[in-house]
């Protein structure tokens, strides 16, 4: 399954809904989307990964790149993910300590630092 991407504003935050496979082939599109949002002044992002089937290190690298970009503007990037096979990849790489990971979009929208 290919990558699907959609964004919607939720108050002062922007929800990026991602579906399908985020890999070496599709990750550049996600990177482009995150770069565009930040260029557009959207510094508080919630990336909803509930419909992601596959995630590899290129995808992880793009998410970390997004985090660095919003942080440069005092922004935030929160992830929504409950799938064990995806969470496992964040644990293996130590990135659970880098990203706030939430169980639902509502939780992520309600969260503050």
């Amino acid at each position: 399954m290919d990558l699907s991407l959609s964004t919607r504003p939720e108050g002062d935050k922007t929800v990026v809904e991602v579906g399908g496979e985020i890999d070496v082939y599709t990750a550049p599109r996600l990177r482009e989307q995150l770069v565009d949002l930040v260029a557009d002044g959207k510094y508080h992002l919630v990336v909803d990964m509930e419909r992601v089937d596959f995630l590899d290190s290129t995808g992880l690298g793009v998410l970390v790149g997004g985090l660095k970009r919003v942080r440069a503007h005092d922004g935030s990037l929160r992830l929504v993910c409950t799938q064990e096979r995806i969470l496992k990849i964040f644990r293996i790489t130590g990135l659970t300590k880098v990203f706030p990971i939430h169980e639902s979009v509502e939780d992520a929208l309600a969260a503050t630092d």
Partner: protein
């Protein structure tokens, strides 16, 4: 059952990494790898192929990447072979991971890369992004694969990943 091997040779393009993943998962399933482990095989093979494709694109774009999937009696193994010139640090890290196993070695390194990476340029790309993906790729492979072997030969680097096949004696059909 005899040992059999499926070999896939593909042009170093990101799109073909997905093909290699699909083939690996299909052969692994046929070999008797448990459903719960198939995801790990798919991910580890994808990471190893992404690494090889990336190296080929930088050093030898015309050369193909080779993946050999071997169904043995008690194990399933995947060998990903690149033809890129020697990569000092990254290969040493891989070798160390293969010897020591586990991702503990890389976890602090990943965190350091995340913190140290500088701001991206206008296009959103940085060398650090690539280094980060490399480091994360190695972390994923080492975290998923207990039995990892790295060998450098004159033709390139071979990364061999092996998973045990859990074959209970009672499940082996009797010979008639």
């Amino acid at each position: 059952m005899e040992t059999t091997t499926v070999t896939v040779r593909f042009t170093a393009l990101p799109a073909h990494v997905r093909t290699a993943r699909l083939v690996a998962a299909a052969v692994a399933r046929r070999s008797g790898v448990e459903e719960s482990v198939l995801d790990e095989v798919r991910l580890a093979v994808g990471e190893a192929c992404s690494r090889a494709v990336d190296l080929h694109r930088r050093h030898c774009p015309g050369e193909p990447v080779t993946v050999a999937l071997t169904d043995g009696k008690t194990s399933f193994s995947v060998e990903v072979v690149d033809r890129a010139p020697e990569q000092g640090d990254a290969e040493q890290t891989l070798g160390r991971l293969a010897e020591q196993g586990g991702s503990a070695v890389l976890e602090p390194a990943t965190a350091a890369v995340v913190e140290q990476a500088s701001s991206p340029d206008a296009a959103g790309y940085t060398d650090e992004d690539e280094q980060l993906s490399d480091a994360l790729g190695l972390a994923v492979i080492s975290g998923l694969v207990d039995d990892l072997e790295v060998t450098r030969s004159a033709t390139g680097l071979a990364l061999r990943m092996t998973w045990p096949l859990d074959v209970p004696v009672a499940a082996i059909p009797a010979q008639h």
